[in-house]
Symmetry: C2
Subunit: 430 residues, 2 copies
């Protein structure tokens, strides 16, 4: 029996919206948003799309009209009652009322601000400008929309069975990864793949596959909507935008040198336990840790998001030891370009020495490599970053110079202020 | 939206029937049935289930109650109006009214006769006895039911994602086979996998995958229901039961020696063109062809269903040449235990020398080898054969002694009458 009403209802959709909820975003975005809402609500920021994989000609692949329709649809969204209830009532990281009534009231009334979209050759220039707490919430939906529109463009010419077999192959691949990971004792792994997912439904499938296949080893997902729908933990802490914007606003070199620690001082006030996780690489991990105040050594853990992950973790271990901390009690979250082999290696090397955890992103939720002609579904490195704050450019150095960004002169100044010397370049796949 | 009516309706099913139509059977069964209905309607025959893979303990895997429910359900079936219309009105092998009004009237009033089911150790003894045209129609549904009940028994303990990934893997495997076969120029291939399919839905999927993936190289399916539903060609000619029963009824050795040709003389009257296909191996291909009347050399083709397929085809080619026929105009249908490698080999060896065609069975519709623990879904060699006619045992020699059947003394007599000497045994996988 065909449900005629459903079929007729489906006819009424003008588009098939990719992002259908304001909480179809990463949990750390909301945590950071609350912090920004409290500490810097009036800072004016610009976020901009950056396609690091320039040989993917987004503007030729994706129709501009479709892209506008999807972005416009996101601007019609507001927090639903059930979503608000979940954010207000749920326990996150063991804590009730993670989100304050003031923040929730603001969020409930939020609609995302306008966007600016232009075509520039084979790429799009997509920027968002306005109050930091509002603009920052564009990052994840903008990325997810572009990734999924690209998937749809590639899939448009495929037959019904080709599609079914494509997904069969991709499912098999994810499941084989899950089966390998299942063998790792005391594994702790979460989905961090929202921003560069193949599609929403695919991420949802991957998360459920991890949940069924890994059981308690699967800590949850960074995606709030999936966490809510699937009754899982929402996972995430903070990101580079906090120190980048704080640094951009610093009045002089001394303030600049302090900025990354000032940000974490705010965070220290706001959060405890497993949310106290250092992201040390914005301006070079070595210098950040060497110059860090002692209270930071008391934090629960560290997230390794660029550079050689072994080096980052060994640096952190030595730093904790030098500050009289026991690394075995510390959490190390690996979150950069992970796939099964790397997870296995890192797990083997660091288990027992620290509490190891993995934030598995693109190669969980978008591993379609080699599955279609010309590898047209391979993931690529698309980001949406804060590029300016109150009219001043932002800078990121990272532990991998290929992930660095900012005007040349400013990059040089930051390198001097943060004492960053030679760096090893690593290919940025995702 | 959930379709409540459908859900409630689904609750009402007491069982999930495996065979839901009298035309969920092989096309050649209906062709043969019509021939039997015309030539030997009153012959009393016994068909019996034979599990050649004795290490698959069917009676421990399959619940007897469930088996009875499924068999009982088949006995409630009668030809539906649309099915009758299709058989009466459709063109088969380029011919209208393949089925006579007299046969159709009989078929429309048919219900399948009773069955006899007993447990014998770890196996079931399942026999059907009665008028040949009725009893013969039990073969395919009985096999399909047992195969699918075994699949269900193995799948019963699997989780939802495990199941999804199992089918994803199986789909990927079938599709990879299709992609390999697509490379073969002028391939001609049909689905012969009804009897030993993993399940009805799975066969239906495999047939559609072949249809989409192989295009015109896919000639159709032996399954009438799928051919009807999917608007494809129904494929098939005749089988061993015709000569076996005719031979069993022969009054003396001279009549016995004539029996295989007498059967084909009837067929010669009834059919022409691509339906004139010799199945030569019942009592040994060599002797059958050597002693065949000249009018048989004028037939369109031959089906190679046991023994080394290369040997069978070479024998046929030599025979045609010795009779002044041009093998390049002859059809050779390979139908025994095929998989992609063998299809590629045979295609390479015989293309251009004869018109090559493939009837691909079990390893198309039931290749779950290696996909679950203990290989519990691997296909196995289950058949349902005529074992007696009017109280006399049947005999099959085949070109592979492992496929031979019949009482020892009778086998010896047949070997003498048909001049069958030493034979090469080949493993029977499916």
């Amino acid at each position: 029996m065909i449900d005629i009403a459903t079929r007729v209802w489906n006819h009424k959709w003008k588009i098939d919206p990719i992002v259908r909820s304001l909480i179809d975003t990463d949990f750390y975005k909301l945590l950071m948003c609350q912090s920004v809402f409290r500490n810097s609500p009036d800072t004016n920021v610009t976020f901009s799309l950056i396609n690091r994989t320039t040989n993917v000609p987004l503007a030729r692949l994706i129709d501009e009209g479709e892209l506008r329709e999807q972005l416009d649809h996101v601007r019609t969204l507001s927090l639903r009652r059930g979503e608000s209830t979940w954010l207000r009532g749920n326990t996150f990281y063991g804590k009730r009322q993670m989100f304050t009534p003031a923040f929730m009231e603001w969020f409930e009334n939020l609609r995302l601000p306008p966007y600016d979209l232009r075509r520039a050759g084979d790429q799009y220039e997509l920027t968002f400008e306005g109050a930091w707490p509002e603009v920052m919430l564009w990052e994840i939906p903008a990325l997810a929309i572009i990734m999924e529109l690209r998937s749809r463009a590639v899939l448009a010419d495929m037959g019904r069975f080709e599609l079914q077999v494509l997904y069969a192959r991709a499912m098999t691949r994810v499941w084989e990864k899950v089966e390998r990971l299942r063998a790792l004792p005391d594994l702790r792994l979460a989905d961090f793949g929202t921003r560069r997912r193949h599609s929403f439904l695919w991420q949802d499938w991957c998360v459920q596959a991890c949940h069924e296949g890994l059981g308690n080893s699967f800590a949850g997902t960074s995606n709030c909507l999936i966490a809510k729908n699937r009754d899982m933990e929402a996972i995430g802490t903070n990101a580079h935008e906090l120190p980048m914007i704080r640094a951009a606003l610093a009045g002089d070199d001394a303030a600049l040198a302090r900025a990354p620690y000032d940000v974490l001082a705010d965070w220290h006030e706001e959060h405890e336990g497993n949310l106290r996780v250092i992201l040390p690489d914005t301006y070079g991990t070595e210098g950040f840790l060497a110059n860090a105040p002692d209270w930071l050594a008391g934090w629960t853990g560290i997230r390794i998001d660029s550079g050689a992950p072994e080096t980052g973790a060994e640096t952190a271990i030595r730093w904790w030891e030098s500050r009289g901390e026991d690394p075995r009690e510390k959490l190390v979250i690996f979150s950069d370009g992970l796939d099964v082999e790397k997870i296995e290696e890192l797990h083997a090397r660091f288990s027992g020495r620290v509490r190891v955890s993995f934030g598995w992103g693109t190669l969980l939720t978008n591993d379609f490599r080699g599955l279609v002609k010309d590898d047209a579904l391979a993931p690529f490195s698309l980001v949406c970053k804060a590029v300016a704050a109150d009219g001043r450019p932002t800078v990121k150095l990272s532990d991998n110079p290929r992930k660095a960004m900012g005007p040349e002169a400013e990059v040089a100044r930051y390198k001097r202020v943060f004492g960053v010397g030679g760096q090893v370049a690593r290919e940025v796949v995702v």
